[in-house]
Symmetry: C2
């Protein structure tokens, strides 16, 4: 499906972003990063993820500029690395927030939401939505995707 | 990874939404649905997807209320079905739009964007972002995810 005729190929921006995240593990590593979990051992323990899979997903996120690999050293230990969200990684919070609110709205569980969205330094609730250039929100039913001249599939 | 301690389990709304979409094919079927491509044969031909995979992904999206299966009949043919976005499916456009704008901003290709976001019935450009209850947009760097009491992993 990674062809250039568009379906899941490089011309589709949706597919390119999914490539960066790779699979569910990529999304979960990113989720933990947004919570401030930055160290390999902590990610491994919290996600119960196989170390080789975690190494691969972190490498992919670093390679694509989503996470930055920063050395740190604790007394008596060798140098290790932590993984911090970059500005591009911050922008992916929009994707996570959109997935999160959809799951809580349309496929809720009895326990209720396990995470909510708030403004930094405050308690104002946030959601994710379509916004125009004047900063006005538009409901999803009034948003449309329009193929450009670069879109190779006939409509 | 589908455990109940949260990482990729039912308590995580991000994981639940990813379950509905299953894999890249689910996202691509949804992308086509937002463009008004509703029929099995057309989806199969445009996506170059194996029929059994398409059947599975459509079934999953119908089961979770994202698509509605509607019968139609052309003269001289047997009854067939088309797959239309439901209101819950419309809400998933926020997820697609977020993936799309991230890929075009942070992993662009020389050809430029193949799809853009516009308001229905107009040309106003739209993007996807965090919005508070007063309708004010907040940049991703000022949005945070906050675990609730239902979140089982210690912070």
């Amino acid at each position: 499906m990674a062809r250039d005729g568009i379906p899941g190929g490089r011309l589709c921006a949706i597919a390119r972003t999914l490539d960066v995240l790779a699979d569910r593990w990529g999304f979960l590593v990113l989720r933990e990063a947004t919570l401030g979990v930055t160290r390999f051992a902590e990610l491994r323990d919290r996600l119960q993820i196989a170390p080789d899979v975690l190494t691969d997903r972190l490498g992919r996120l670093v390679e694509h500029g989503v996470l930055e690999r920063v050395p740190y050293r604790e007394p008596g230990s060798r140098t290790r690395f932590e993984y911090r969200l970059t500005p591009a990684g911050e922008d992916l919070k929009v994707v996570l927030g959109a997935l999160q609110q959809w799951g809580d709205l349309h496929d809720p569980v009895a326990e209720g939401p396990t995470m909510v969205r708030r403004v930094v330094g405050g308690t104002r609730a946030l959601h994710v939505g379509f916004v125009d250039r004047q900063g006005r929100e538009v409901p999803p039913s009034e948003a449309r995707f329009v193929p450009t001249a670069a879109y190779p599939l006939a409509q």
